[in-house]
């Protein structure tokens, strides 16, 4: 059982939780994730490590409330316990040797993009961050990003905060204006990452994405999280979660991520005791 030390709502759908998990905290690095079960009947679900405190043995996750499991998770408060919590899983981000990077975060993906941006900043790289949200209420980690970015642009679908438009619009504008990036890191919804990669491929800029397929064990034993990368099968949990974005078959990944859509809808209906659209 793993104790929740702190819980904070970042906006109406995103929460931050700090959990006591000494093994994970001791070894965690940017880019890695954990797998947790909310209770003893719970499914195993992955969440990226947003932050960690090695001395205190604490790990921070930031999650979006999407379906039944995240709903149940969000009902827990500081002082409550999570049944299982294991990690750190996956390969850490490679941050060495880059002088100028663009970090593109979408929605709750910004929670994963932030520790990476922070790492590059601490290594002395010039960091340009572009974050995208549907609307102003969903904006998260603004101050944190400003603290580690040499340029920070907010894009929103409805124009309620920052500029109206997509992160790809902002990125293209920067590239066209002469910015030369050694690396683009993009983390967010699959469709967003797909289009960022299509854009950067035009300009031949190395691009790294962080994939979040469905997982069960997270240690390479089931193949549930498999992706096609450069025509070959790779497991996101042990070969990733970060990959060369230009090599990924995003369409396949998007299809596979929806395999349990009907189950998820039913679980949510059962939990909330009402009809749910999606």
């Amino acid at each position: 059982m793993y104790k929740i030390i702190k819980k904070e709502k970042l906006n109406s759908t995103v929460s931050k939780m700090v959990i006591e998990a000494p093994f994970v905290a001791k070894k965690a690095q940017a880019g890695q994730f954990i797998i947790l079960r909310v209770d003893s009947n719970g499914e195993r679900v992955p969440f990226t490590i947003a932050n960690y405190d090695r001395e205190k043995g604490l790990v921070t996750i930031i999650y979006q409330i999407v379906g039944a499991t995240t709903h149940l998770l969000d009902q827990k408060c500081a002082g409550d316990y999570i049944e299982d919590f294991v990690g750190p899983l996956g390969n850490p981000t490679h941050t060495g040797g880059y002088k100028k990077v663009a970090v593109i975060g979408g929605g709750v993906g910004c929670a994963i993009a932030y520790p990476v941006a922070k790492e590059f900043h601490e290594q002395g790289a010039e960091v340009h961050s572009i974050v995208g949200f549907r609307t102003k209420d969903l904006l998260i980690l603004e101050n944190e990003f400003r603290g580690v970015s040499d340029k920070y642009l907010i894009m929103s679908d409805d124009g309620s905060v920052g500029e109206k438009g997509l992160v790809t619009n902002a990125l293209e504008k920067l590239i066209e204006s002469g910015e030369k990036y050694d690396l683009v890191i993009t983390i967010g919804p699959l469709i967003m990452m797909k289009f960022v990669c299509l854009l950067t491929k035009k300009y031949d800029i190395k691009t790294v994405v962080s994939m979040n397929p469905i997982m069960i064990d997270g240690t390479g034993m089931c193949g549930c999280c498999r992706l096609t990368v450069g025509g070959e099968v790779r497991f996101a949990c042990v070969d990733g979660p970060e990959f060369d974005g230009h090599q990924i078959d995003f369409d396949e990944a998007m299809e596979r991520s929806m395999v349990y859509k009907d189950f998820e809808r039913e679980a949510k209906c059962n939990l909330l005791q009402m009809e749910v659209a999606e």
Binding site: F23, D84, G87, M221, G223, V233, R256
Partner: protein
């Protein structure tokens, strides 16, 4: 007592049991067990013992059953086996002890496996005394993996007085005993009891710790463990790399079985989803393929196919599993090999395309090589495809530990005493040999425990 015919094991009726996850074989009643035990000749040569990978005193325990001394029979078994209720259920006895049984020359062998299960079940039901923690010898050892190999090694070391910690990556201990072998072959309550027995001996089991990530092998030595036994199994699934293998509805057997067995997806109160497909194809012919197929039919499938590229007679699964599968209405498509998986408009599986095989010239092992018969393609309409074509050792530890030699199949190289190329590190079970059996893994665990004891005592003297 019939010298030539063994007492039959009572089973749930096939068409009843293929709709539930309750145990298929229900076990001997005491009078039947005694009758079967009396068939043992207690012959001088005792070839059965040499057929047992952990060297159980078979005539010894059978003699006790014949005398009605069931608890004493259990004690004899547990002298050599840490998991008696498990072995009695899952060992391929027909290739081991029972194959060598003298009774088997003219008639049926003595049903050694069924008697072992009987004694273990009797003990679990009637004996409420848990063993005590033995006198500690002041030394610590670590075991990686709580499957049959790791648990056996831990149990033997604990009995010698060592303080043992077992590190398990998943949230429940048991390894393949909980994620791989289904409830209807090996009830999880039984595995829980066996593990509780080990914990009462003082074995400390820590779940949710991934060695190679949460802790490294070097960390273990730094924390004061004097030796490490790696028993992390062969959990890396193999795929065929054919077109359509990433469609929705294609699983590795590991994923399918883990959802069902470990995550209990067959139960409506489990949060883990699984599709209850009407038609399922399982590719492969081993015990895992049988387990996957028999699980699929229990999830309500109307048609379950086993697709195996060699002939039916060559199917490698345990004979009892194949017989049970057939009784449960699973269809065997032998001499067939998948070439493509076809999807519908929503990228879900709609069929598996196979080609007929024929047997050609024998290869170096003497087995006739299967080859595809040109123009014999055929489609089988299914909604789920399960790949049960084998697993290899999980590379997580070998990728993250320096100084550990590995062979070209990813297995850790260990000598006949379980010693690896890294000082103080031992390995055994599937992580060394590739996917094999529970009992062989247990045998390796016993050897490793002895070697670790010798190693630690030797280091102590230096």
């Amino acid at each position: 007592m019939n010298p030539l015919k063994a007492n039959q094991m009572p089973h749930q009726a096939p068409l009843v049991r293929n709709k539930n996850f309750l145990e298929v074989a229900t076990g001997y009643m005491p009078d039947i067990a005694i009758d079967e035990a009396k068939r043992c000749l207690n012959c001088k040569t005792k070839p059965c013992i040499s057929g047992c990978p952990v060297g159980i005193n078979i005539p010894g325990f059978i003699g006790k059953i014949a005398a009605g001394e069931f608890e004493e029979a259990y004690q004899i078994i547990s002298d050599e086996s840490s998991l008696p209720a498990v072995c009695g259920r899952v060992c391929p006895q027909e290739r081991q002890c029972e194959k060598k049984c003298v009774r088997g020359i003219k008639g049926d062998s003595v049903s050694i496996g069924r008697l072992e299960r009987f004694a273990a079940d009797w003990h679990n039901k009637n004996c409420k005394i848990w063993p005590d923690v033995p006198k500690q010898n002041g030394h610590k050892a670590a075991v990686v993996g709580s499957g049959p190999s790791g648990l056996t090694c831990a149990g033997d070391l604990a009995r010698m007085g060592y303080a043992v910690t077992v590190f398990e990556a998943l949230h429940t201990a048991g390894g393949v005993l909980v994620y791989g072998i289904p409830e209807f072959r090996l009830p999880k309550k039984i595995v829980e009891l066996e593990i509780k027995g080990l914990q009462s001996l003082g074995v400390d089991i820590q779940t949710n710790v991934v060695i190679g990530r949460s802790l490294t092998i070097d960390d273990l030595f730094e924390s004061g463990y004097e030796a490490v036994y790696i028993a992390s199994g062969a959990g890396l699934p193999r795929f065929m790399n054919i077109k359509g293998e990433n469609l929705k509805g294609v699983y590795s057997a590991n994923e399918y079985l883990t959802r069902i067995n470990l995550m209990k997806a067959y139960r409506s109160d489990s949060a883990t989803p699984i599709y209850h497909s009407k038609r399922v194809a399982v590719v492969g012919g081993g015990n895992v393929a049988m387990d996957a197929a028999r699980s699929a039919i229990r999830l309500g499938a109307e048609k379950v196919y086993i697709i195996y590229r060699r002939s039916f007679e060559e199917i490698p699964a345990r004979k009892e599993e194949v017989v049970h599968a057939k009784e449960e209405q699973i269809e065997f498509l032998a001499l067939s090999n998948p070439i493509e998986i076809l999807g519908d408009g929503d990228n879900f599986v709609r069929a598996i395309r196979c080609i007929k095989m024929d047997l050609g010239e024998p290869d170096q092992t003497g087995r006739r090589s299967p080859y595809a018969v040109e123009g014999s393609e055929f489609d089988v309409a299914v909604e789920s495809v399960i790949m049960a074509i084998g697993t290899s050792p999980n590379p997580l530890i070998t990728r993250t530990t320096k100084g550990l030699s590995v062979n070209n199949r990813g297995g850790i190289i260990a000598d006949e005493n379980g010693m690896t190329s890294h000082k103080g590190v031992f390995a055994g079970g599937d992580t060394v040999t590739g996917a094999a059996t529970v009992i062989k893994a247990m045998g390796a665990g016993k050897i490793a425990a002895k070697s670790i004891d010798e190693y630690i005592q030797k280091v102590k003297k230096e």
